[in-house]
Amino acid sequence: VDARVEEVIEDELLRGDNRKLKMLSNPNDDTIATFIFTDEDHTLGNLLRYFLMKNRSVEFAGYNVPHPLENKMHVRVQTCDGSPALSCLKKALRDIQDVCAVVKESFNDRVDTYRNENANMKTD
C-alpha cells in the first residue's frame, strides 16, 4: 500500500508543473508577459516570434530555450499600445494556423495536379 501511495505522490510532483502553457506577468500590467511552454522548442519558438513581430502593437517579442536539456521554451511579449500580451499571442497563433491551412491546401492541390499531369504523360 505504501509503495502505491509513493507512486501517486511522485506522479503528481512530476505532473504538477507540466502545464502546457504558463504565463508570468505582473497582475497590474497585462501588456508585458513571459509565456512558458512545456515540450516546445525552436520549431514553434522562432515561428511565434516572427508572427508576434509582425503585429504592429508588439514592441518587443523574443524567445529562448533556457536550457537544452529541459524541454521548456520562453516567449516574452511587450506591447506598446496597451493591448494585452495574451491577446497578441492568440492572434499570432491564429495567423500561424491560417498560413498552415493555406500551405497544406496548396500542397495537396499541387501534388494532385502533378500526379494527373504525369499520369497523362505516361498514357501519351
Partner: protein, 307 residues
C-alpha cells in the same frame, strides 16, 4: 507552393511567399515530429549468431516499417492496456531463422513476420512497391545478420509508435532540406568592357555551370543550379582589381559585374524518405502536426495560469 518532382522516395517542391521561420519549422517537424512505427522492444529466445543481442536489437529498431497506419495507433505510454502491447498500441513481429546446411544464410528483414499485415518491413518486392526505395536491386530486404551452419536466431519484437525526437529510428526522412532560391544578376554594360577570356573565366569559375557564353556574351544558363558560393563574384572582383590597377579609387562606386543574392521568400525543399511513409504523406503529416500544435495551444490559452 509548387511541386517540382515526385518520385517513389523523394519529393522536391517550392514554397513561396513565406518567411524562413515557417520553412524551418516545417523542416524540423519533418525530421523529428512526424510519428512512425518502429521496433522498440525485442525479446530474444535464442541467439547463437555472431552478433550479440543488443547489436541485433539496435539493428532491428532501425528497420523501417510501413507506417501509414501510424495515426491509428496510440502511444504505448497513453494506452491503458494491462498486457502491453495491445492491438491499439503495438504490433508484434517474429523472427525465426536457422541455418541447417553448410553455407551462409542471410537473415534479412524479409524474415520478420508481422502479426498485423499492414505494418511490415518496407521491402522491394514488386507487389509491395508502395513506398519502394528507387534504384535498389531486387533483394529480400535489409540484411540483419548472417548465420552459418548450426546457428539459430529466434526472437519476438514489439513495434511501437514514436517520433524522431525520441530516437532517430522513428524519423520518416533520410534527408529533409530546403534552400533559398538564388538570384543572379549580370551587369551586361560592364561585362561588355571585358575581354572574352575574362568573361570565360567568370563562367568557368562556377562549380555548377550556372553560366554559359553565347555569341561571346556571358549569359545565365540555369539559375536554379547556383549554390550561392560566390566564386563568380570573387573572380569578377579579381578581374576588376587587376584592370583597375593604379586607378582603383573609382572602382568601388560602380555596380558589380555579377551580383549573387538569395530570394528570402522562396524556398526549394528536397525531402527524401526512408520508405516508412510516402513522400507526399510525410509533408502532409508534418503540416498536420504543426496545425495540431497550434490548435492545442489555442485550446490551452483560456486556462493559462497567471502568476
Amino acid at each position: 507552393v509548387d511541386v517540382l518532382s515526385v518520385a517513389n522516395d523523394s519529393i522536391v517542391f517550392k514554397l513561396s511567399n513565406c518567411d524562413v521561420s515557417i520553412a524551418n519549422a516545417l523542416r524540423r517537424i519533418l525530421i523529428s515530429e512526424v510519428p512512425t512505427i518502429a521496433i522498440d522492444f525485442v525479446e530474444v529466445m535464442e541467439n547463437s549468431s555472431v552478433l550479440h543481442d543488443g547489436f541485433l536489437a539496435h539493428r532491428l529498431g532501425l528497420v523501417p516499417l510501413l507506417s501509414d497506419q501510424a495515426d491509428e495507433f496510440k502511444y504505448a505510454r497513453d494506452c491503458n492496456c494491462d498486457d502491453p502491447p495491445c492491438q491499439a498500441c503495438g504490433v508484434r513481429l517474429t523472427l525465426d531463422v536457422e541455418c541447417s546446411e553448410a553455407g551462409v544464410v542471410e537473415v534479412t528483414c524479409g524474415d520478420l513476420l508481422s502479426a498485423y499485415e499492414v505494418v511490415r518491413p518496407v521491402s522491394q518486392a514488386s507487389h509491395d512497391a508502395v513506398h519502394a526505395v528507387e534504384g535498389e536491386v531486387e533483394s529480400r530486404g535489409i540484411l540483419l545478420c548472417k548465420l552459418v551452419k548450426g546457428q539459430k536466431l529466434k526472437l519476438e519484437c514489439v513495434a511501437k509508435k514514436g517520433i524522431g525526437k525520441e530516437h532517430a529510428k522513428w524519423s520518416p526522412v533520410s534527408c529533409a532540406t530546403f534552400k533559398y532560391d538564388p538570384i543572379v544578376e549580370l551587369n551586361h554594360e560592364r561585362l561588355a568592357e571585358l575581354t572574352l577570356d575574362e568573361r570565360q573565366s567568370i563562367a568557368k569559375s562556377c562549380p555548377t555551370e550556372v553560366f554559359d557564353i553565347e555569341d561571346g556574351k556571358l549569359m545565365v544558363q540555369d539559375v536554379a543550379r547556383c549554390m550561392l558560393c560566390n566564386e563568380c563574384t570573387r573572380t569578377a572582383a579579381q578581374i576588376t582589381a587587376a584592370s583597375a590597377g593604379g586607378g582603383g579609387g573609382g572602382g568601388g562606386s560602380r555596380a558589380p559585374l555579377v551580383r549573387i543574392a538569395k530570394d528570402e521568400r522562396q524556398f526549394t525543399f528536397t525531402v527524401e524518405t526512408v520508405g516508412s511513409l510516402a513522400p507526399k504523406d510525410v509533408v502532409h503529416k508534418a503540416l498536420q502536426v504543426l496545425v495540431g500544435k497550434v490548435k492545442h495551444l489555442l485550446q490551452e490559452l483560456p486556462t493559462v495560469e497567471i502568476n
